[in-house]
């Protein structure tokens, strides 16, 4: 077989098919949001006006002409003058400078302290982390305004000093955010791989940790700018800024004194503050969306990414009308999901199945083949965005598509059981095993508490748990994964279902535990005449348990046959390829000698492209 690509003869297309726009995306995504564009334009406009203030007005923001106090708008003073005759427009423009400079000081100080401290604390943990976290907690406990008042009273009124102190006080916010992000990324294997690659700690922090931390930090910086402007305006309003400097807060203070004489004076600084702070806040939100915070890809295994192809020309596999005694009959089942760009991705494309009582049907396929989606469609547990249709979907003669959600729910608990793949995530951690087992029985079967308890203990003993009483009283975290899967199987059969749907029930288990769970399932099937749909990717499991096997590829069943025939004489090329990929009969390597490079050859490593020193 070729080793040229992983797609093989039957798999999806390789590299090119999944190409998506790589980087730069974040900026483009940001600019696609109208809110972000408006906010960005406003922020840039404020910055520009502040920078060009001397060119835009000849008036001085601080020169007061008592004779010209409270002048109306228009004329020499475009926006009028304030209570002591200072030009409002000039104050507004120069005040923007004060606000922006103050905001930048806060951000620079808090980042300069919080970012490196957070990275080092998160990366090394240990003593530095303990000390830094302690200091951060202390700073957070201090009342910011009081500290500011004390510092400004002690060292004189200065906007810059006030903002620098505020930057220190707010730095723990940055520190904690950065530290938490680093702790998360620290667990990623690529950081371990970088260490094994021989990178120094400093380089790992710079090259691998910092980029992950940047995104949330940028967002927080944007929010900090907004907060800083409010705090600063507050200080100026209280008269704690430098008296020789125009500021929005100072303007508000003056306007407040003249609120009866000239209320319009409140308007300009008020609007400037509100709009600018809002702009920074919205910008932060838009950045959060654009960067998809955390900067990490969700680790979704390609479960439902088969892109629909026009399949009118593909003949549906010929399946005869399901026999009348079928417990479960599915005909032409289709499941699709709408995609972001308006198109539809069909993940199950015309699946037909029939299952009798006492029969185990294996649904086999690789990831993305639609096998789990088929099982969930039968259970009626697909996410609400899924669109399901079927010519026929009946359980023991009942049309499942006609049932109301409530009726379907009743059926699911009682006559259709479900065994999930991940046992632990399917038990509620804060309830005891016992209450999780008895609850459905009391609800569906109307049993009393004592009856349900007795029955649950019987079931736990039946699924091979040595000490049912102890497990009954345990919380999920107190039992092992294999034990949890037995509990879930006990739960699945607790209401005497007729049909069992098992989605990779042993994939998360060790082989020795898997063998025991398979034994258990086999004996339950024989004992209760259960019909079972077993979703799996493991042909060993199929061979162990299944009577019939349906092989799925890209949303379709490509072959269905009794287990014996499928393994002995697979008909479809894809089935043959899958079976040939199992390693069971592959020769062991023991007979080949270890690949020791030939000592006579001076350059025994043909991988290197040049003979130069490495």
């Amino acid at each position: 077989m070729s080793v040229l690509s992983d797609s093989g003869p039957a798999g999806p297309a390789p590299v090119d098919a999944v190409a998506s726009p790589p980087r730069q995306g974040a900026v483009r995504r940001l600019l696609r949001s109208p809110v972000a564009v408006v906010a960005l334009v406003w922020v840039l406009l404020v910055a520009l006006l502040a920078a060009l203030a001397p060119l835009l007005t000849s008036a001085s923001p601080t020169a007061s002409q008592i004779t010209n106090a409270l002048a109306p708008m228009g004329g020499a003073n475009l926006l009028g003058t304030d209570g002591i005759g200072r030009d409002v427009l000039a104050q507004l423009l120069y005040g923007a400078r004060t606000s922006i400079v103050g905001g930048v000081i806060v951000v620079v100080v808090s980042l300069a302290l919080g970012l490196p401290a957070g990275i080092v604390a998160g990366y090394y943990r240990g003593r530095f982390d303990a000390v830094a976290s302690w200091i951060a907690n202390l700073l957070m406990a201090l009342p910011a305004i009081i500290v500011l008042l004390v510092v400004l009273a002690q060292f004189g009124r200065s906007t810059e000093l006030g903002m620098a102190v505020f930057g220190v006080i707010i730095a723990p916010g940055v520190f904690r955010l950065v530290r938490a992000s680093v702790l998360a990324v620290r667990e990623e294997l690529f950081v371990d791989a970088a260490r094994v690659s021989g990178l120094s700690d400093g380089r790992i922090m710079r090259r691998h940790v910092l980029p992950v931390v940047i995104a949330p930090t940028v967002i927080q910086a944007s929010q900090l700018l907004g907060i800083a402007i409010v705090i600063q305006a507050g200080l100026e309003f209280l008269g704690l800024g430098s008296p020789n400097q125009a500021s929005w807060g100072g303007m508000l203070s003056d306007a407040f004194q003249n609120i009866y004489a000239e209320p319009r004076l409140l308007l300009f600084p008020g609007l400037a503050i509100v709009l600018t702070v809002t702009a920074f806040s919205l910008l932060g939100n838009a950045l959060r969306d654009a960067l998809g915070v955390g900067g990490r890809m969700p680790r979704v295994r390609r479960r439902a990414t088969v892109v629909a192809a026009p399949d009118s020309d593909v003949p549906a596999p010929v399946v005869s009308e399901p026999p009348g005694d079928a417990l479960l009959a599915v005909q032409d089942l289709r499941v699709s999901y709408p995609k972001g760009d308006g198109s539809v991705s069909e993940v199950v494309r015309g699946v037909s199945l029939a299952l009798r009582r006492g029969e185990v049907l294996g649904l086999v396929g690789e990831s993305g083949s639609g096998k789990s989606q088929t099982a969930f469609a039968v259970l009626g547990l697909l996410p609400p965005t899924a669109r399901t249709s079927a010519e026929r979907l009946t359980f023991d003669g009942t049309d499942l598509q006609r049932l109301s959600p409530a009726e379907r729910n009743r059926l699911r608990g009682r006559r259709i059981g479900y065994i999930p793949q991940e046992p632990m995530s399917n038990l509620v951690p804060s309830f005891r095993i016992g209450s999780q087992l008895t609850e459905p029985m009391r609800h569906h079967l109307g049993l009393s508490r004592a009856e349900a308890r007795r029955r649950a203990l019987d079931l736990l003993a039946r699924v091979g748990i040595q000490d049912p009483g102890r497990v009954f009283d345990s919380y999920p975290h107190e039992i092992s994964g294999g034990m949890a899967q037995r509990v879930l199987i006990a739960g699945a059969v607790s209401c005497d279902p007729e049909l069992l749907i098992a989605d990779e029930p042993t994939t998360a288990l060790d082989v020795t535990v898997q063998a025991e769970v398979l034994d258990l399932l086999r004996s339950l099937v024989a004992e209760r005449d259960l019909g079972v749909v077993l979703v799996t990717h493991d042909f060993g499991v199929v061979a162990d348990l299944c009577d019939t096997v349906a092989v799925m590829q890209e949303g379709r069943i490509v072959e269905e046959a009794p287990a014996g025939r499928l393994f002995d004489a697979p008909e479809h090329e894809y089935t043959r390829m899958l079976l040939s990929s199992t390693l069971e009969n592959s020769p062991s390597r023991q007979d080949l000698p270890p690949a020791v490079p030939d000592p006579d050859e001076p350059e025994p490593l043909p991988l290197s492209s040049s003979g130069g020193p490495r």
Binding site: G8, G295, P594, V596, P604, R614
Partner: protein, 287 residues
């Protein structure tokens, strides 16, 4: 074995303890004196179930887990307690391929960045590093233009090829492979295993191949070691250990692995039931 060769790596009664949170808690002993050797160009398969300590042994060799007792010798030099600088120097010779190809590649870096990084830190010129990347991509059968792409644009099997290429960048003598194919689909898995074998035949690199899957181990290994609760219970030639194991635990492991054929699986199942019944009759030894 062709045992004239000096072993490349020797683990000598290695003990690893992990501290437990909380005051005066006893640390957990994960490895209880494990001894193992790997020859040049040899693949040693390490099999065990979850919690057996197989991954910890790999991490101890890589310097990612603390060695509490015993020692690990690489080319006759104790590497179990190296300083940071010495450990970094050793990265030329000992490399790793992890299980999860989704988390082992930095999602924000292009494949070329990922592959050149180990070269650039050791002072290789950028042009030379670029040439090296192209030959590495070729060696793992990825298209040459793959270097410009991000990891997320590749399937699981392709990412694992990238991880293999990264391990190969500086011509290591030993690669620790920690469940490198368990996250992959069946057909992808066999192709990636064949790539491992092909690369070994071309470069003479040795593998410590950690996995829970006996059939995988038989396919790639010359020798197999079986780990159970922090100890090696059996070591030997791959065919013998995976077909006629001596230790009871290995037999249990082998008999529990289902054969992908209904009739033969029914036979193995019956044999397993006989074996377990005999074990139970023999007394409460083991669990």
């Amino acid at each position: 074995m062709t045992a004239v060769q000096e072993p490349l790596l020797v683990a000598d009664r290695v003990v690893v303890d992990y501290p437990v949170k909380g005051w005066r808690q006893q640390p957990i002993r994960v490895l209880r004196g494990v001894s193992l050797d790997i020859g040049p160009g040899e693949t040693v398969g390490l099999v065990g179930e979850s919690g057996s300590g197989k991954t910890t042994l790999g991490r101890a060799i890589l310097g990612l887990a603390p060695v509490t007792g015993g020692e690990i010798r690489f080319q006759d030099r104790d590497i179990s307690r190296l300083g940071k600088r010495e450990r970094r120097a050793l990265s030329k010779d000992i490399q790793v391929v992890f299980q999860d190809p989704y988390s082992s590649l930095n999602p924000a870096k292009t494949v070329e960045d990922i592959l050149t990084e180990p070269l650039l830190v050791t002072g290789t010129a950028r042009a030379e590093a670029g040439r090296r990347v192209r030959s590495l991509l070729d060696a793992v059968h990825l298209p040459v233009d793959a270097g410009q792409r991000l990891p997320r644009e590749f399937s699981g099997g392709q990412r694992q090829r990238i991880a293999i290429a990264r391990a190969l960048t500086r011509d290591p003598k030993l690669i620790v492979c920690d469940e490198p194919v368990s996250a992959l689909d069946l057909s992808t898995q066999s192709r990636v295993l064949d790539l491992f074998i092909e690369i070994q035949q071309r470069t003479g690199v040795a593998y410590l191949f950690i996995t829970h899957d006996l059939s995988v181990v038989r396919h790639v290994s010359h020798r197999v070691a079986v780990m159970y609760r922090g100890e090696l219970v059996e070591t030997g030639d791959a065919t013998r250990v995976t077909t006629t194991p001596e230790h009871a635990y290995t037999r249990r492991l082998l008999l529990a692995a289902p054969v992908p054929h209904p009739r033969r699986q029914a036979e193995r199942r019956a044999e397993r039931h006989r074996f377990l019944a005999a074990q139970a009759a023999a007394g409460p030894a083991g669990s």
